[in-house]
């Protein structure tokens, strides 16, 4: 015979210590918690609004250069160390936590065209307009020593792409004498950047305001065309997670694109920031740095509304929940409108309007042409294919 008993175990409702959270017995009967969709909708709406309220991405500006910042480089092992080369041949090393310049080197005459650090972080290389490549020690010289470069040695990378002013991208394999393949685009490509998590994907920042993400194995069609800038895109850098990248543009703004979206999710600008020449995503994926024409390096948060510092577990849970809610209701018109709303400088705003009109006109013309010509004689070219002129084997 089975006898059912009411049983009360104190373990179920008595705390072990005073610091424990009180156990709250809950009834999850859906009848007791009605209106789940409207309630969650309101929560999502509030979360979206709060996200916009707390979107304060700008962290710091590092000034000290006496000419436009032309290139940036990250230290491979220290998050706080950043190197920058200016248009007057000056190289500066910065400490981001203290937000000051540690070291200044007059490396070249004319532009510093490029900087890269050695994989171990002990030294770095600079390329200048004075046709030299110099290697420098990362630590400063001892007391009394003079600041001078070590020898000039080339580092080794196996697969590299180059973008030349004759509007093409060439892929090389360093181990072979010949280039691999060449793709010719509409206009000049300024920079390319490889996806750190997907070895065969790279993104090209193009002069025609767009960015193109290519799969290296199929160059005839880009995987995605990213368009939002209203002027030439000068630099691009991937987030170390490989999910997003940041692009710097001549239109005095930087934008963050998800890899698989054609529109940007974020745009950063300040009143004083001029044409942004170089941009870097820090290797902990939390911050973005950009160097611009007006001699400053700026530090931004990668997530505009993210709270810096340590989060308690409840804060973290709330953050995750809000994130999920925003994702869930992102298609709802009101939420979408609030989430997408950005204040833009007038120049960019008017440019966007103008380009929209231009684009619409072009599209209309295309449609008309197709409409009034023999069916099939005017081919429909997709947006992706439109920009690739040719692929040279």
């Amino acid at each position: 015979m089975k006898v059912k008993m009411l049983s009360r175990n104190p373990d179920n409702y008595v705390r072990e210590t005073k610091l424990d959270l009180q156990r709250v017995p809950r009834n999850y009967d859906p009848a007791l918690h009605p209106f789940e969709v409207p309630r969650e909708y309101i929560r999502a709406l509030n979360a979206t609004k709060l996200e916009r309220v707390f979107a304060k991405p700008f962290l710091a500006s590092l000034d000290g250069h006496r000419d436009g910042v032309n290139c940036l480089a990250k230290h491979p092992e220290k998050l706080a160390t950043v190197l920058s080369g200016a248009c007057d041949g000056e190289v500066r090393i910065w400490n981001l936590t203290q937000r000051n310049c540690i070291r200044t080197i007059q490396a070249h005459e004319g532009f510093v065209r490029g900087i890269c650090t050695r994989f171990c972080g002990t030294s770095f290389f600079t390329v200048g307009d004075d046709k030299t490549v110099k290697q420098w020690k990362m630590d400063g010289p001892g007391y009394g020593d003079e600041e001078e470069p070590l020898h000039t040695i080339l580092g080794k990378t196996f697969l590299l792409g180059s973008c030349a002013s004759d509007r093409n991208i060439v892929l090389y394999d360093m181990r072979q004498a010949t280039p691999l393949k060449k793709v010719i685009l509409d206009m000049r490509t300024n920079t390319i950047c490889w996806n750190p998590m997907e070895a065969f994907i790279f993104t090209a920042a193009n002069e025609d305001y767009n960015l193109y993400t290519f799969d290296m194995r199929a160059l005839d069609t880009p995987v995605m065309v990213h368009m939002d800038h209203v002027s030439a895109v000068l630099d691009v850098d991937y987030s170390p997670t490989g999910k997003e990248f940041v692009s710097a543009s001549f239109d005095k703004s930087i934008r963050i694109f998800p890899v698989d979206k054609s529109r940007s999710r974020e745009v950063y600008h300040t009143k004083r920031m001029q044409h942004v020449i170089c941009v870097k995503w820090t290797s902990d994926s939390k911050y973005i740095m950009c160097g611009s024409d007006e001699m400053n390096i700026r530090l931004w948060k990668a997530n505009a509304s993210e709270k810096l510092g340590v989060l308690t577990s409840r804060e973290k849970a709330a953050k995750d929940y809000n994130q999920k809610l925003k994702e869930k209701f992102q298609h709802y018109p009101h939420i979408k409108r609030i989430a997408r709303h950005r204040h833009l400088p007038k120049s960019i705003y008017s440019q966007i309007q103008e380009q929209r009109i231009m684009k619409e006109a072009r599209r209309r013309k295309e449609v008309n042409r197709i409409k009034h010509s023999k069916p099939g004689s005017v081919p429909l070219v997709s947006e992706k294919k439109k920009h690739v002129v040719a692929v040279v084997k």
């Binding site: 998050l79 181990r175 194995r217 997670t241 298609h331 709802y332």
Partner: protein, 728 residues
């Protein structure tokens, strides 16, 4: 020699040919009668073959035997014109010589070599090189595909991907560079050294080592397992005992006690057989226990419990029974004393013990029947219910007979009413079960006796409904009691029933319930039910099918989709109808106050009737509700187009409908639902994905270069790796 052999073989061949040709010739001869000519020609051929044997390629001048097309003007046949002159033929002398063989070989070699092709121009070569290189690189790169795909589809990615092992330096390393400086430290170290406590490497004293060596791992494991098992068993039994101890049911304890007694008896029997001395001791123990019991006078009416029961016994049957039981027990015990004293001299004291230990089973059973066990009760009531339903059709004719003439006794009227109510209730329930085939209009049923087809339906009603109703009625029972009227009927029914010592209470309850049901139903029978257009199904159906349907009906007794839909539609229609405007002011021009309503005349006068709206679009569509009013305010908040990853609107709706908050989900589910896709740790450097993560080492990249530049210098290691790559 060779020539001779050749000739022979050729001869044989030709003969064979002849033989093979013969039948064909016959056929021909039948038609043409030119057998002789054919024979001649064959002969000629043979001769030619023979003559050609001595020289390999000696051309023989064709003799002109008959008119032929092949004859040229120089009398040279063009038969061999197809064959080319081979260089080697020129060299060949009549006799073969060894010196010429080499030359011939060389010649053949020269002949086999073809002309060298023109070299490609540089551009093309380069392009080919590039293409090959590109293909190779692409192939190598495709190794990343699985990893990339995995990362793209991952539910959650935690960066940095590779786990950083916390660098824990072993204690020896830490200690090696450390020296005792303060006096305290030195003292401690001295002590340690005295005990031969090792400071470095394996942190075990010699004693510990010895002990380790002494006990093997296996043994230790076994011992530990044994201990664990013992502990587990102990805890299990403890838990069980605790659980059983807590059970409040008296009956359970009684059963347990009985079981124990039986067991004890059995054991005692066995013990007596095996070890009489021990059995005697046992017996003494039992005796002693009984004596204690007797002394304590626990079973007399002196206890607190017994006193309270004695007070209650006047009113409560149970209490009276309990008291009775106790008294009987007491008597038993005292009797035992006498019996025991009698049998003290005798040996067979065991039987007494047996009598003592065996509890009164017969009493128990009766107790069970009367006891307050709800399950037992329920079965009883259900029995009565069934009986009642069976009786119904029998009583119906009676109703018919006396229904018209109302002057007969009030009992009859009452019974009539009761039956009627029963009928109504059944109708109602059957419709509730599923308004499909058998549900007929109640009016028809009111007039005629219950049709035979309905019998199974009525009987098979879910029982739970009944019991629930009973429960409801139980409460009402006291207030509605009107004992005078139903009694005769009850008595009549009682006599009809099979002889069964069922208690009367439930039966009465049932009757009451019917009474009340009648009242309820007569007042609350809603007109809406009648107006329902219930779809009908032909009644000509197999028994099996009906049974099947019945089963389904029972299974889905709760949800009535058609009815719900119709109701919804009716509501929608009502809601969409323009409303009348009532402008009457209560108390205006006449008396007002609580409970006073404006007069009908006034109401009629001030009621502004709404104009008939246009006919609804779904007026003629019975299965459709067309919402004619789109809510613009709501539309502003609704998604207009199906978002990208979804392929159907219900997918999207479902995702929206499932809540993710902790209000609706358990903590664990909430956490699972809100896991972010990408997690990064602040201050941790995320390195790019490495070739090692893919499964092939970075050296495979160097494979390519090695092959490209110096294919001869491939080492065995490289070969292996290449093989691996190709296998992959």
């Amino acid at each position: 020699m060779t020539a001779n052999r050749l000739a022979e073989s050729l001869l044989a061949l030709s003969q064979q040919e002849e033989l093979a040709d013969l039948p064909k010739d016959y056929l021909l001869s039948e038609s043409e009668d030119e057998g002789d000519n054919d024979g001649e020609r064959k002969h000629q051929k043979l001769l030619e073959a023979i003559s050609s044997l001595d020289g390999k390629n000696r051309r023989k001048l064709a003799e002109r035997s008959e008119a032929s097309l092949k004859v040229s003007e120089f009398n040279v046949s063009s038969e061999g014109s197809g064959e080319k002159l081979v260089l080697a033929d020129l060299l060949e002398p009549v006799k073969t010589s060894s010196s010429l063989a080499t030359v011939k070989k060389q010649l053949s070699r020269v002949k086999s070599k073809k002309t060298v092709e023109l070299p490609l121009n540089k551009e093309e070569i380069e392009r080919i090189h590039r293409e090959v290189a590109f293909n190779k690189t692409a192939q190598v790169l495709s190794k990343w595909d699985p990893v990339v795909l995995k990362n793209r589809q991952a539910e959650q990615l935690v960066f940095p991907l590779e786990k950083e092992e916390p660098a824990i330096a072993p204690i020896e390393h830490v200690l090696s560079g450390w020296k005792a400086r303060t006096p305290l430290e030195q003292e401690i170290f001295n002590l340690l050294h005295k005990n031969k406590q090792p400071v470095t490497d394996p942190l075990l004293t010699p004693v510990e080592k010895a002990s380790l060596r002494a006990m093997s791992l296996e043994e230790a494991k076994m011992r530990r397992a044994e201990l664990q098992r013992a502990r587990a068993l102990q805890s299990y039994y403890e838990a069980k005992a605790r659980r059983e101890k807590k059970i409040k049911s008296k009956k359970y304890h009684k059963v347990v006690k009985k079981g124990k007694a039986k067991k004890a008896l059995k054991e005692f029997e066995q013990l007596r057989k095996v070890n009489p001395a021990a059995a005697l001791e046992e017996l003494e123990k039992i005796e002693k226990a009984r004596m204690m019991e007797r002394m304590s006078l626990k079973h007399q009416n002196s206890g607190k419990w017994a006193k309270s029961k004695a007070i209650m016994a006047k009113y409560d049957l149970e209490a009276r029974q309990a008291m009775q039981e106790q008294l009987s027990k007491n008597k038993e015990l005292t009797q035992k004393l006498q019996v025991a004293s009698e049998s003290e001299e005798e040996e067979g004291g065991t039987e007494d013990v047996e009598e003592l230990l065996v509890p009164d089973v017969v009493n128990e059973v009766q107790m069970n029947a009367d006891g307050p066990n709800p399950w037992m009760l329920r079965s009883c009531t259900s029995d009565t219910k069934e009986a009642a339903t069976q009786e119904d059709p029998e009583q119906l004719p009676e109703l018919e007979a006396h229904g018209v003439s109302e002057n007969s006794g009030s009992q009859e009227v009452l019974s009539e009413l009761r039956v009627l109510s029963q009928k109504l209730k059944e109708n109602h329930q059957s419709r509730k079960q599923k308004a499909s085939s058998e549900g007929t209009i109640p009016q028809v049923q009111r007039e005629e006796p219950a049709p035979e087809e309905e019998e199974p339906l009525l009987l098979q009603r879910p029982e739970r409904v009944q019991t629930l109703e009973e429960l409801e009625e139980l409460g009402k029972e006291e207030c509605f009691q009107n004992k005078e009227l139903p009694r005769p009927v009850l008595e009549g029914q009682q006599s009809e029933r099979t002889p069964n010592n069922r208690p009367d209470a439930p039966k009465e309850k049932k009757k009451k319930e019917q009474m009340i049901d009648l009242q309820n139903l007569l007042t609350t029978q809603s007109p809406s039910v009648k107006s329902l257009a219930v779809p009908t199904i032909e009644e000509l159906e197999d028994e099996e099918e009906r049974n099947h349907r019945q089963m389904i009906k029972e299974a889905f007794a709760g949800d009535d989709v058609i009815r719900d839909f119709l109701k919804e539609k009716r509501e929608a229609v009502e809601a969409s109808k323009p409303k009348d405007v009532d402008l009457t002011l209560p108390g205006w021009g006449e008396w007002g106050g609580v409970g006073l309503k404006p007069s009908a005349k006034k109401r009629r006068r001030f009621l502004i009737k709404a104009p008939e709206g246009p006919p609804r679009k779904d007026k003629n569509l019975p299965n459709v509700i067309i919402n004619e009013k789109r809510n613009i305010h709501a539309a502003a908040h609704q998604v207009r187009v199906l978002p990208y990853p979804f392929t159907h609107h219900w997918q999207f709706e479902r995702t929206i409908q499932t809540p993710i908050g902790s209000t609706w989900n358990t903590q664990r589910a909430f956490q699972k639902l809100t896991t972010p896709k990408v997690v990064t740790k602040p201050g941790h450097i995320i390195n790019p994905i490495k070739a090692e993560d893919v499964g092939y080492r970075s050296s495979s990249r160097s494979d390519l270069s090695v092959i490209q530049r110096n294919p001869k210098r491939i080492t065995t290691r490289h070969k292996k790796q290449l093989k691996k790559c190709s296998v992959d």
